[in-house]
């Protein structure tokens, strides 16, 4: 699987962030960029889109996010260190449906790498687990590709 990296258009996380933010790109499709654009363009998901961008900008400027309402790691022991951004508004305690999966690359560049996404429905743990599994698969492939390039 190809795991190139691209920038998220127009996303600015600060002049000197802890992490740069990238999205996985297979040469044709970036699931993360596609999701952000879909949320942005959907009036019902606009608030979710804004909160996901806020979560990304927040995560890019701290070592690790402590607020589990905004970033949650997978609790499945089969997974490596993979996380999801959640559309959550602390001011109103409102939780949206948008979720964007990611992992950290701590090796050289200090990257947050966004992989896949989903729109949460009530009680669909299976979807979340599957999406974490996919994110973990992207992580493994990305690391394998990196090793083989060296």
């Amino acid at each position: 699987m190809k795991t190139d990296l691209i920038d998220i258009p127009g996303l600015f996380v600060g002049a000197n962030p802890r992490w740069k933010v990238k999205a996985i790109f297979n040469g044709e499709v970036s699931l993360a960029v596609d999701a952000l654009d879909r949320w942005r363009a959907d009036p019902k998901m606009k608030r979710d889109y804004k909160l996901i961008v806020e979560a990304i900008q927040y995560a890019a400027n701290v070592e690790r996010v402590t607020d589990e309402r905004i970033v949650k790691g997978s609790e499945n022991f089969d997974h490596g260190e993979v996380y999801e951004f959640r559309a959550f508004d602390p001011d109103t305690n409102w939780t949206g449906r948008a979720r964007l999966m990611f992992f950290y690359d701590e090796s050289d560049e200090s990257l947050i790498i966004c992989t896949n996404s989903y729109d949460k429905n009530i009680g669909n743990y299976e979807s979340q687990n599957l999406m974490f599994s996919m994110c973990d698969r992207f992580r493994q492939e990305y690391e394998r590709n990196k090793r083989s390039e060296k």
Partner: protein, 160 residues
């Protein structure tokens, strides 16, 4: 779930997603840039980063919420509300500075960049270097505010 199944699911996701060439990338870029020009949005990022630094420092030093509340003269409920960002009005600059110092952090400056950089700068809180503080130097180092940016500074400070 088996690895093959996951691969199939990923393939399906790729198949159903739009290729980059079919996405309005400029529209997305402009929307992202617009968020970075939105004071409310930037204030949200700043508060999140600030609270994160405070909570991380509390964990590192084993300071409980009750201890911190006592030290600051707050009730535990008020501190909890503050740290969970339930009331945006609580985030005054005075509170930010007081809370930072209470957990051994030094609010270094509010970093300001020209708007053309579409900056989403957070208040940068760094650990207080012990040598510096013990030598009696100032805890708080504020940035020099250059006149053309002053209105922007004040707006962000109020929003934060």
């Amino acid at each position: 779930m088996k690895q093959d199944d996951i691969s199939r699911e990923i393939e399906a996701l790729f198949k159903n997603a739009r290729p980059l060439s079919k996405i309005d990338l400029e529209g997305l870029a402009e929307a992202n840039r617009a968020l970075s020009r939105d004071p409310k949005h930037i204030a949200g990022v700043i508060k999140a980063v600030f609270v994160n630094d405070v909570v991380s420092s509390m964990k590192k030093q084993g300071i409980s919420k009750s201890q911190l509340a006592d030290q600051m003269g707050y009730t535990r409920q008020y501190l909890t509300a503050l740290l969970s960002r339930q009331d945006p009005r609580n985030f005054t600059i005075d509170t930010v500075v007081k809370l930072s110092m209470a957990v051994g952090l030094r609010p270094e400056c509010i970093r300001l960049e020209p708007m053309e950089d579409i900056s989403a700068q957070a208040i940068i809180i760094r650990e207080k270097p012990s040598a510096e503080t013990s030598s009696g130097q100032n805890y708080t180092q504020t940035s020099t505010l250059q006149s053309p940016k002053k209105d922007v500074v004040e707006e962000y400070a109020l929003a934060a």
